[in-house]
């Protein structure tokens, strides 16, 4: 197919009511190209963010509409606008003296003669009068790839039905983030991402499920109905761990494992990261280290069992800590005793259990139940478990590097409310900060789901590979999400024009160019089916199974 024929095919929808096409009349690589719309085009059909294809002489360019402009070739048009705004004159003036122009930001280019390779970022611009039209389905596939193993269909470009795919392999190589105001669809998007990772088998997930919405039965606020969790869709690939067994059972779920944390498992670092939420002074937090040195592994229980002013005084003088700081620490830490998952007796096996599942390629969702409402409990448990898992992964990886055993399966840890413990002050102390910075050195990455990205440490934000951003309207949040991205000003306008539901701006390593998407449906029977779920109670499927049975066994 030569380029003209190809272009004719592209223009097929120009005849549609909202179709359009145009030619390049000026512009630059940095400021975007100016495209004059053809006279039969409908300017109302052009939308900012739309993906377009530009047919250059030797290259085909792909870009995005960044602005729509009304132009006039007659400077005095406004003076006699009334005269010519009616009858046939209005039709004559439209597309000639008064015409539509759009700005297109070129992003990628590919040699017309070699469309089998993947598009590279655009380093030049197409010449004057190159034709511009809305990208065809085949172009979307060329840019983002076809749906295939490792290519997960995440949604469609706005106003298009084409499937836009995310490269899961690239996605799991780095830490990523899903951001958006509360109620903009972060959870649905994250559920899809988790399903994509799970389906691809490129990595296993460990989800710290604060509000118990990923593993079993979530809730759709818009449709007011229950939606299936990962365990319901992929029962053999997902295990649900619970911190609050009763809560899980109330929801009709028997968890695969009930997590218990021994007092002995808590280390001074775990207290350090709770410093802010427990309002501890630096001295009080440091006291935990001194206590650890003094008592050893069982420091917390021993410390909490200390009572009476005299014993405090003597302890304070023994470990050389201010007595006021010590008693504050005691007061705050005694709050731990109300956590039913804390166990005084022995060291528990939760970490090993999680690792056993992960090693078998089974994804683990840890439900927090009632503790989801308690940020301290969430931070404590997530940090504690992650630190140990990370240590084990690091050992495993180092062994693999020295030739003993296989590499561990890449692990993606999903965390929520990250702005509470990945703040600039705490990011250095939490294991999540370390994982985000060290990237995939030890095959562990994090997926941050958060609504206040501006509160998260800049360094952590800068290390995120792919960001999926739903509507954000706080300027600081928008700045922090877009920092370091080229074409920030234009993305900002795209971001602020997102709908508050089911739309997201996606950019970073897993995609060749930033794109605004309508997130794929989740929650309908068709959507479950497209994710590979077959309903065992579905009569049609049952009869098919029976048919298969009789075919196989007679």
């Amino acid at each position: 197919m030569n380029s003209d024929e190809k272009f004719e095919q592209l223009k097929q929808n120009v005849n549609a009511e909202d179709g359009w096409s145009g030619v390049i009349v000026g512009g630059s690589l940095s400021d975007g190209l100016e495209v004059r719309l053809s006279s039969e085009s409908s300017i109302e059909g052009v939308k900012v963010g739309r993906l377009v294809t530009i047919e250059g002489k030797t290259h085909r360019f792909f870009g995005q509409v960044s602005d729509v402009i009304l132009e006039s070739s007659d400077r005095n048009l406004s003076i006699y606008s009334e005269e010519i705004s009616e009858g046939i004159m209005a039709k004559v003036a439209t597309g000639t003296a008064a015409y539509g122009k759009i700005k297109v930001q070129p992003k990628l280019s590919i040699k017309t003669s070699d469309t089998s390779s993947s598009p590279q970022s655009a380093k030049t611009v197409p010449p004057h009068f190159s034709k511009v039209a809305v990208s065809a389905h085949s172009d979307i596939e060329l840019i983002f790839g076809k749906e295939a193993p490792g290519k997960f269909w995440i949604g469609s470009p706005l106003d298009m039905e084409s499937k836009l795919c995310l490269d899961i392999n690239e996605f799991t190589k780095r830490s990523n983030g899903v951001f958006g105001k509360s109620g903009t669809g972060k959870t649905f998007l994250t559920r899809l991402l988790l399903a994509g990772i799970l389906q691809s088998g490129k990595a296993v997930n460990l989800v710290f499920d604060m509000h118990s919405e990923y593993g079993w039965q979530g809730y759709s606020e818009t449709e007011n109905h229950q939606v299936k969790g990962l365990k319901q869709l992929f029962p053999s690939k997902v295990a649900i761990f619970s911190l609050d067994e009763e809560h899980s059972k109330r929801r009709g779920l028997t968890p695969d494992y009930v997590v218990r944390i021994g007092y002995k498992e808590i280390e001074p670092e775990d207290v350090e990261i709770l410093r802010e939420s427990l309002s501890l002074s630096p001295q009080a937090a440091d006291a935990a280290h001194s206590l650890y040195r003094h008592y050893g592994k069982n420091w917390l229980l021993e410390f909490l069992n200390t009572s009476g002013t005299e014993s405090f005084n003597s302890l304070a003088s023994q470990i050389n800590v201010n007595q006021g700081a010590l008693s504050t620490l005691h007061r705050r830490l005694s709050g731990f005793s109300r956590y039913e998952f804390m166990d005084t007796t022995s060291v528990h096996d939760s970490v090993n259990q999680i690792l056993r599942y992960l090693d078998r390629g089974i994804n683990v969702v840890l439900e927090f139940g009632k503790y989801g409402r308690d940020t301290d409990a969430y931070i404590l448990v997530a940090n504690l478990l992650t630190r140990r898992i990370y240590e084990r992964y690091a050992e495993h990886k180092e062994r693999a590097l020295s030739g003993i055993g296989d590499e561990p399966t890449p692990l993606v840890i999903t965390i929520e409310e990250a702005h509470k413990y990945l703040t600039p002050e705490l990011a250095n102390q939490t294991i999540f900060g370390t994982i985000a910075r060290e990237m995939r050195k030890y095959n562990v990455t994090i997926l941050i789901v958060d609504q206040r990205p501006s509160q998260i440490d800049e360094e952590v934000m800068s290390q995120l590979g792919t960001k999926l951003v739903c509507l954000l309207d706080n300027n600081k949040d928008v700045d922090s999400v877009l920092s370091g991205v080229s074409g920030q000003r234009k993305l900002r306008s795209v971001l602020s024009s997102l709908d508050s539901r089911q739309q997201a701006l996606v950019f970073g390593h897993a995609l060749p160019m930033p794109v605004e998407i309508r997130v794929r449906d989740y929650g309908t029977p068709e959507s479950y089916k497209s994710l590979g779920f077959t309903d065992p109670t579905n009569k049609k499927d049952l009869s098919q199974i029976n048919q298969d049975k009789s075919d196989l066994f007679g």
């Binding site: 070739s73 046939i88 004559v92 000639t96 003296a97």
Partner: protein, 205 residues
């Protein structure tokens, strides 16, 4: 209808109105056989030689054949012009009607070319009004618009408007024809929308 029959019928309807008496590359002047026998302003005519050349009537004049003997008024009191001509039949020989046409194209190997003819028409070639089908074919492409707008005639806009008015009437959707031509005019006259508006307004009356 077969094409031979159609050709014959068209030939019969071809109205010969005069002969070329002055010709240049850009225009030609025809003297009419009949006094006042000129076609309306904006009509499409052909100097029908072996190389037929298209012109659009842009200027018509009636005056004394002898420049030294100009007509004098007969009045006052004679209101009926028709009776004067009846009483003085010699007037038809003393006066003559002529019209100038802007050259807008020619026919080469049965194809209409909308450009200046390589050579002007020969003096005394016959001039005839174009047939409807010739007019429709000629006006189906807008290249002639630029020729008219660029001509040295002071009132070329009015000539264009008159031509468009005639051509539009022959079409099933006259307004659409004016819109399409209007777009061509607008692109030739950037920044002059008021002028374009005037032309189209005159054409649509």
């Amino acid at each position: 209808m077969n094409s031979k029959k159609q050709n014959r019928k068209e030939k019969l309807s071809k109205e010969i109105i005069g002969e070329v008496i002055r010709a240049s590359s850009t225009e030609f002047e025809t003297q009419c056989y009949d006094l006042y026998g000129f076609p309306p302003l904006g009509s499409l005519v052909l100097s029908d030689d072996e190389n037929p050349i298209f012109g659009i009537v842009s200027h018509s004049v009636t005056e004394s054949l002898d420049p030294s003997r100009t007509p004098r008024p007969r009045g006052p009191g004679l209101a009926d012009v028709k009776s004067i001509y009846q009483e003085s039949p010699q007037l038809k020989n003393l006066l003559n009607s002529r019209f100038t046409s802007i050259t807008v194209g020619y026919i080469q190997s049965q194809t209409v070319v909308r450009k200046l003819s390589p050579v002007p028409p020969k003096i005394l070639s016959i001039t005839r009004i174009s047939t409807e089908s010739e007019l429709i074919e000629f006006s189906s492409n807008f290249d002639f618009v630029a020729r008219l707008l660029n001509s040295s005639f002071a009132s070329s806009d009015d000539v264009l408007a008159s031509f468009l008015s005639i051509a539009a009437r022959l079409r099933p959707e006259p307004d659409q024809y004016l819109i399409d031509t209007g777009k061509e005019i607008a692109s030739l006259l950037p920044g002059q929308m008021r002028r374009v508006n005037l032309i189209l307004r005159n054409a649509s009356i």
